[in-house]
């Protein structure tokens, strides 16, 4: 194809004549700007990693888990053994976090407390999760009357003052770790069930569910294979935020004298024991349990927030 003889140039010189040739159409050029698609979890992880605070929280929790497992083992002192000659010693090389009124090593007791807190928190979250998934999933999936009745029950349970019920249960069942976990989950699963149900309702009517239904898939299979993976985001966030709640409740109950009994240590017990000696300047008695319980709750909270941002499909662009 040849150029036309230049008759009138409407445009400035920099527009060359030979450019007026039809362009070779490149295949699929218009679509080439599509970004590489990442899987949901990879994408979420990528965004979580960008959240510095959440990563600090995660790192701290990993450290805490390590110390909870190995701290009491590594320490030369026992959690319960008393050593009256060495009572209320300030932090030193021998006792990094000092000792309490019975001469017990606060360092060892702090990590033992971490064990209890993490155990209570994670167990409570897991049990909540299982009950919540079953109840909420069933309610949301069935819908109709079943759902209405099941939700009425939840509404009434939601109105119960949880900590009061927990206290009542503790009084009746007697203080122990199992009691704490049972008491916490008896009231705690309601929130999870609500979230699961909401998620299930939202996703139930999606086309792919209708599609698998039309293939004759079983109810349980639809719930397990299609619904759950798509509802995990908010559920994981809820679990992450259940943990600090449970840790707080355990410490709160221990502080009231309803938790783990002495001589065993929990952060709540240690804080409570430190109360009478604040005036005498034994700051380490209060500082270490208070510091670690706050830091742990902080870590779970920021991690939960980070997960929420990372997993929320509404914010995905």
């Amino acid at each position: 194809m040849t150029n036309s003889t230049t008759t009138k140039i409407v445009s400035p010189q920099n527009v060359k004549d030979e450019w007026f040739r039809p362009k070779q159409k490149e295949q699929g050029r218009a679509e080439s700007v599509v970004r590489p698609s990442l899987s949901y979890w990879k994408d979420a992880w990528r965004r979580l990693r960008k959240n510095k605070l959440a990563m600090v929280g995660l790192a701290f929790l990993i450290f805490l888990l390590f110390m909870a497992i190995f701290g009491p083992i590594l320490s030369p002192y026992s959690v319960t053994a008393t050593d009256y000659p060495n009572q209320n010693k300030a932090p030193s090389l021998a006792h990094w976090f000092g000792t309490d009124e019975a001469g017990r090593d606060v360092f060892t007791r702090t990590w033992y407390g971490a064990r209890i807190s993490l155990f209570v928190g994670v167990m409570a979250a897991l049990i909540d999760f299982f009950i919540g998934i079953v109840y909420g999933g069933f309610s949301g999936y069935k819908g109709g009357r079943t759902d209405a009745i099941m939700m009425r029950i939840i509404e009434v349970l939601y109105g119960l003052p949880h900590l009061l019920v927990v206290i009542l249960l503790m009084v009746v069942m007697g203080p122990s770790l199992t009691t704490i976990i049972v008491a916490l989950t008896v009231t705690g699963w309601v929130g999870m069930a609500r979230i699961v149900r909401g998620q299930v309702l939202q996703i139930k009517n999606y086309e792919f569910v209708t599609a698998s239904k039309s293939f004759g898939a079983k109810t349980s299979r639809i719930i397990g294979k299609n619904l759950l993976p798509n509802t995990m985001g908010p559920i994981i966030v809820q679990m992450t935020l259940t943990v600090p709640g449970a840790i707080f409740a355990e410490a709160f109950l221990s502080f009231l004298g309803l938790g783990v009994a002495a001589p065993f240590a929990s952060w709540g017990v240690m804080t409570n024991d430190a109360l009478p000696v604040i005036l005498s300047g034994h700051w380490w008695r209060l500082f270490f349990p208070a510091f670690f319980i706050s830091l742990t709750m902080f870590a779970f909270n920021v991690l939960g927030d980070g997960l929420q941002d990372a997993l929320d499909p509404k914010l995905r662009r």
Binding site: A148, P161, L168, V171, V172, G257, I278, L286, L295, N301
Partner: protein, 311 residues
Amino acid sequence: MAKYIIKRFFMMIATILIIATLTFALMHTIPGSPFDDERTSNPTIQANLEKFYKLDEPMHIQYLYYLKSIVTFDFGPSIKKPNESVNELLARGFPISFELGMVTILVALLSGVTLGTFAALRHNGIIDYTAMTFAVVGISVPNFVLATLLIQQIAVNLEWLPPATWSSPLHMILPTLALATGPTAIIARLTRSSMLEVLTQDYIKMARAKGLSPVRIVVRHALRNALMPVVTIMGTMLAGILTGTFVIERIFAIPGMGKYFVESINNRDYPVIMGSTVFYSAFLVFMLFLVDIVYGFLDPRIKLHRKEGDA
């Protein structure tokens, strides 16, 4: 609206009944009589006591007596302090706890909403970051830890404020601060996120397009809508604050209901535990009911919501 209130009212009664029954059932699953460990283990005295507390009657009769005591608001005498009735303890302790709770919720609401609103308006600015850092810390530090730290630092080391009791406004500052920080942080975060969402709504854009002043847009158009979620959590928050008063009162030696309650737990004084649990639950559930009604008035769509919820 009337239908909504009536429905909520019956929900409230149902919840209270459940709590009452639960309390009764739990208390009676404890093996033995509460007088077993009594120092005066004289069988006749014990029998008399059991008769006095109607423990010799069959279970269902006891339950009816119990329900009657709730309806007539007469929880009977304390076991450990026989010359005092549960009612007397409640009358003495509850007003103080109530005061502490109300001051706390007021402080938490005012500061939380203000903080959250400004954080949202200056989204990603310095105020936002400061407020949200405070909020995360506030949520993370348990109230009893904060209370102990406040006493240690401000009352004992610096001697700025009295460390205990509830005798003057000055005495109220530390307990209120310890109890209100958590709720403030929660409210601030909630207000911020809901405010941020409301600010992107079309009706806010429309209010801007009307040329209204920024103050009017925030106060009249945004705040009311943004506060809906805050109102929704007020009920559970109140429950948290009132149970929080238990430890705060213990730490600050405030003679409120929490003190008697914790005492009764440690002494296994069952009438007091039962009485105060039922009383507190009823109070909280009633507050929840009030919150629901307030919500109904704040949001004209409430009937629509219900319909959507049922469908």
